[in-house]
Amino acid sequence: MKQFIITGLLVSISFAGLSQKKIEFVEYDLPNGIHVILHEEHATPIVAVSVLYHVGSKNENPDKTGFAHFFEHLLFEGSTNIDRGEYSDLVENNGGTLNANTSQDRTFYYEILPSNQLELGIWLESERMLHAKVDNEGIETQRSVVKEEKRQRVDNQPYGTFFQEIFANVFTEHPYKWQPIGSMEHLDAAVEADYVNFYRTFYVPANATLSIAGDINIEQTKKWIETYFASIPKGEAINMYRDFETMEDSSFETKYGIAKSTLDAKNFMKPTDKKAAAVVTKYANTPVDIPRTKKATEQLTEVKKVVVYDNIQLPGLFMAYRLPEATNEDMFALQMMSDVLSGGSSSRINKSLVERQQLAQFAFAFSYGLEDAGLGIFAAIASKDITLDAIQKAFDAEIALIQKDLISEEEFQKIRNQYENDFISSNASVAGIAENLADNHVYNGGANKVNTELSKFMSVTREDIQRVAKKYLTQDARVIIEFLPKEEEGSGK
């Protein structure tokens, strides 16, 4: 009976075709370099306003790690026109909500507001970009918040440093070798000028994508963007403007050769004074030098084993394989491969290592695709009296199996169903759409990839999954991190 139902279902699904609907949008560049993406839909009277800054932990100076994430906190402190602590009140008292996040590759800020507050959202983000409060008072407050966050999420978390260990051992040169949370010593040692420099380098129009989705009128939205964002000075002129607001008259004049009085904050780009106009134009035509990283070149050539002693009771095994960067075509098949191995409770690794053999308390695998490189990660926490060798063998057996035999039709179909459902759900909210559009523009070669990504996954075959498993899960070139209880340190175990 059960067999019958499932076969029937398979047939119905394979003929049904994909459910995805096309996401329409317009996009353009402002003269100062901001890339704008607008998606209009009126299903719900709300709007998501987001700005993606193409800066993550990989853009940090090796002696000043943690800056990108730190800015995510700092930039809620307010601006020249927004008092300290007022930024989130302005959003919440107007019925909105807001947040931000940071990765190795990006920093992303957003507000979700009732659509009649769109202008407020645009103003808020433009204030953050133009002249946020980057000063000692905010730096001190946020330092303690970030330290608390690190204590909670990394230091006091058993196995909490595993990401750090993996990345540090795979990447010896590329800045992926440190984590977004960074070093607290670096944050402590840094002075106000270091923070200001980071802001002046990365928080500039040419490094930003403004993505707005929801109940908007495109023409009106463009006008507000023109008002608040196009007025942000281009190139180095933005930093000249920041100096104009923060510097003493005399030092400003020394630096730029013109008096502050020749400039007007309300009309900064078009001073009436001819000399001042020339200086502003000169700075506007000097692009801000935004340092970019290159694709990671490190390849694993051997098995690298590392032992970490931690405050834990059960040993843990963490393995990493080197995968290509996120935009590589093979990443579609690699992600599906990870889900065959580890997507949900009925996946292979969970069934085998956790339920059937009871070797591990938890076990999982996932593919991590970043802008400059990718990693395939396998992880397990051992069950009582189980050695990491046994776990290693069980993982290797699963890897050998997926390399040797095609996955079953039923497994294949389940993964496809899950991808389709997850994909559609990720575009269910206007905030999700704004984020997906911006991400695809910056990292995947075009905002429109949002409309083709699912078909890329759906064109992956069982043979592709087997092929990438063979190509990338290289048993003779991987990093193996063993987490052992501190008590065993020095015992020779």
Binding site: T44, G95, P114, E119, S231, K266
Partner: protein, 695 residues
């Protein structure tokens, strides 16, 4: 239409080129029109009402099935509905629970149920599979014995933890204060009512509650009328059932003046306060929206509301003070309160009553009104992204007979609310002089509460809202109680004979297995004690982790736990420890410096107990001794740390003879609401142990 909008956009005032004063904050535009499609309604022969709200934005569809029966008082089976609801998804005659989960996963859908509804969400193309599973649950849910047992057991633990949870205690007292016992909202699940619930009563509940007659199925999403009709006919037409239960709801309780209800919580450092009263209003009443705005200003909504401003920002009595309303077809009530330090309990009540009175006497300010409306409008708009909100709205329109465009025009109605409206609504529904003032807290504050009660008589309730009898005088002294207790433990031996008997016991190592909720593996606790003063405790999940270790060598000691790491005992902690040493610590209280007080005899569930309050300088303990056996059956220790108090209650049972002593072989722990059931597996006497095992 579209062209027109663009034209309007072009006419909007444009700024002088480049001139921009950034310090001017943008103002909100006009309230947006809410685009909720009109829903279509049709009925089926079996009595179901189908409400269809098409939304083709995404290829998804949701089906929410809501029963039409009114809630009914369950009397001796109070709690039945909740328990039955949590068991509906436990399997059917055709699918085990695992199979159900697996088939739902396969199509990436979600299917859930509670005491009077069922909800399916899936991609439209998987609708048939999803509906066939929903139909299977609806008609063939079979409530397997083992799942019923599991849920009943977990509710037993929940009731035990309720006794330590001031919030639950407050809710229970509030239910009883606002509604009579014959009203479903005036009922409280107790250990007695839980034990009367059987699988048969659960099945019976499900059969009578889940009936198509009077039920509603709300369909929202990417589906048209023809498809919807075909789907409901295919999956629900064959579903039949009886007429739903229709009871006339008894009236809510009416007070003539303020009524103070006190629920004792031994050693509490904070009082949970609720100023609460029933309200005569239903969701379809035009005042409902105004009441929401009023509550937003008083103590709901944004952070700047009056209760929060007054009691937190100005007075610093609390971390949070809020107000809320519950408005249903069957009964409605209001409550305002929060957690407050013991010493400001009375001042806090005064301020809450003051704010309730003030808002019934004066207009709210224009600024408060504007800010609350803006926040509510935004929250409303954002909520519409979720299909379940849209489904709720479509249902409310039919069920409460609201105007068809009620939600389309919601924002306009909201913006039309005036301060004059709010004053009228406040005067009509708020009862600062006929309120139930519920306080769960330390009995030390009891005296300060009399002033608030209109007849000066405070009512006392237990954790489940039952009338509490005042403690009787003990009739014996504390010292006599300790003597009786030690004799009982020593099976009649006393005086020098007892000293001699105890001297023979040099050490004891007790191993207890404790069941942790939601964890398959038991926790093992090892308690070691030696006559020379050494003590050790270890709590572990064997092979997985050591949760906590503690040791004391008679003069020094320390502890280690997973969250906080290792620490050594302070001088004060050592002094405290020395006050309760020995196999029967009661023997030493008189000489060890322990502060003790026999509070009297307390009656609980018809049984009587001596209550002793101890203070060892570090923490307070409340011990309960059975008046007949003199065994210690319960002990609650309250540890205060940086102004936060944590409490741990141990209950003892299954007293069994070991080495001439009657000792408890059953020990249950209640740690801040988490209940661990423990059974002693082994007691080893007079075999030495290594204290290093506990370091």
């Amino acid at each position: 239409m579209k062209k027109l909008i663009i034209a309007v956009g072009l006419l909007a005032p444009t700024m002088l080129f480049g001139q921009l004063d950034r310090s001017i904050r943008p103002q909100a535009g006009p309230a947006p029109q809410i685009n909720i499609e009109d829903s279509e309604v049709f009925t089926m022969d079996n009595g179901m009402t189908v409400i269809l709200s098409e939304n083709h934005k995404l290829p998804r569809v949701t089906f929410s099935l809501v029963m039409g029966a009114a809630p009914s008082a369950e009397g001796k089976l109070a709690g039945l509905a909740e328990i039955a609801g949590s068991l509906i998804m436990s399997g059917t005659e055709n699918h085990t629970k695992d199979q159900l989960d697996q088939e739902i996963d396969y199509i990436g859908a979600s299917l859930s149920a509670d005491e009077n509804s069922m909800y399916l969400s899936c991609l439209t193309k998987h609708m048939d599979k999803g509906l066939s599973l929903m139909q299977d649950v609806l008609i063939y849910a079979n409530f397997p014995e083992d799942e019923v047992d599991r849920i009943l057991k977990s509710n037993e633990s929940a009731l035990i933890s309720a006794k330590a949870d001031a919030g639950t205690m407050k809710n229970n007292a509030q239910a009883v204060a606002n509604f009579p016992a014959s009203h479903p909202y005036g009922e409280v699940m107790t250990e007695e009512s839980l034990s009367a619930i059987t699988r048969e009563s659960i099945v019976q509940y499900f059969r009578s509650e889940f009936t198509p007659v009077g039920s509603y199925i709300v369909i929202v999403g990417d589906i048209d009328r023809t498809q919807a009709e075909a789907a409901v006919n295919k999956y629900f037409a064959s579903w039949n059932g009886a007429q739903p239960h229709k009871a006339k709801m008894p009236e809510a309780n009416q007070n003539t003046g303020n009524r103070v209800i006190f629920v004792n919580k031994n050693g509490a450092v904070q009082s949970v306060i609720s100023v609460t009263f029933p309200m005569d209003i239903t969701p379809s009443h035009p005042d409902y929206l105004k009441l929401k705005v009023l509550n937003g200003i008083l103590g709901g909504g944004v952070f700047g509301n009056r209760l929060m401003q007054n009691l937190r920002e100005d007075k610093a009595y609390t971390y949070g003070c809020r107000s809320s309303y519950n408005v249903t077809e069957y009964g409605s009530w209001f409550e305002a309160g929060g957690n407050f330090r013991n010493e400001v309990t009375d001042s806090s009540i005064t301020e809450i009553l003051y704010e309730l009175e003030r808002i019934t006497e004066e207009y709210v300010t224009d600024e408060e009104l504007a800010m609350t409306k803006a926040s509510m409008a935004g929250g409303f708009a954002r909520s519409l992204e979720s299909p379940s909100t849209v489904a709720q709205f479509a249902l409310a329109i039919i069920r409460y007979k609201l105007p068809k465009d009620y939600y389309q025009t919601y924002l306009k109605q909201l913006s039309a609310v005036t301060k004059e409206d709010l004053l009228l609504v406040a005067q009509k529904y708020l009862k600062p002089n006929k309120a139930n003032i519920i306080v769960v807290g330390n009995e030390e504050i009891l005296g300060k509460l009399t002033q608030f009660d209109s007849d000066g008589k405070i009512e006392k309730m237990d954790a489940f809202g039952r009338t509490m009898i005042d403690r009787e005088k003990a009739g014996i002294t504390a010292e006599e109680l300790f003597k009786k207790h030690s004799e009982a433990v020593a099976m009649g031996t006393s005086g020098k004979k007892l000293t001699k008997k105890l001297k023979k016991i040099k050490s004891q190592v007790v191993t207890t297995e404790m069941q942790v909720p939601q964890m398959p593996q038991a926790m093992v606790v090892t308690n070691a004690w030696a006559a020379d003063g050494r003590e050790g405790m270890k709590m572990e999940i064997p092979g997985m982790m050591v949760v906590q270790k503690e040791y004391f060598d008679g003069t020094a000691g320390g502890s280690m736990n997973m969250q906080e790491g290792a620490s050594t005992l302070t001088a004060d902690e050592i002094a405290a420890r020395k006050k309760s040493q020995g196999l029967i610590p009661e023997l030493n209280y008189e000489t060890s410096g322990m502060q003790y007080e026999l509070l009297g005899i307390e009656t609980r569930d018809g049984k009587k107990y001596y209550v002793v309050k101890l203070n060892d300088g570090e923490s307070e303990t409340y011990d309960y001794y059975d008046v007949n056996t003199f065994y210690k059956v319960e002990s609650t220790v309250i540890v205060e740390n940086n102004g936060e108090s944590r409490e741990i209650t141990r209950t003892f049972g299954k007293f069994t003879e070991h080495n001439g002593l009657m000792l408890a072989d059953e020990v249950n722990l209640n740690i801040g609401g988490m209940v661990l059931k423990g059974e002693v597996k082994e007691r080893i006497f007079n075999e030495d142990f290594d204290l290093n095992d506990f370091k």
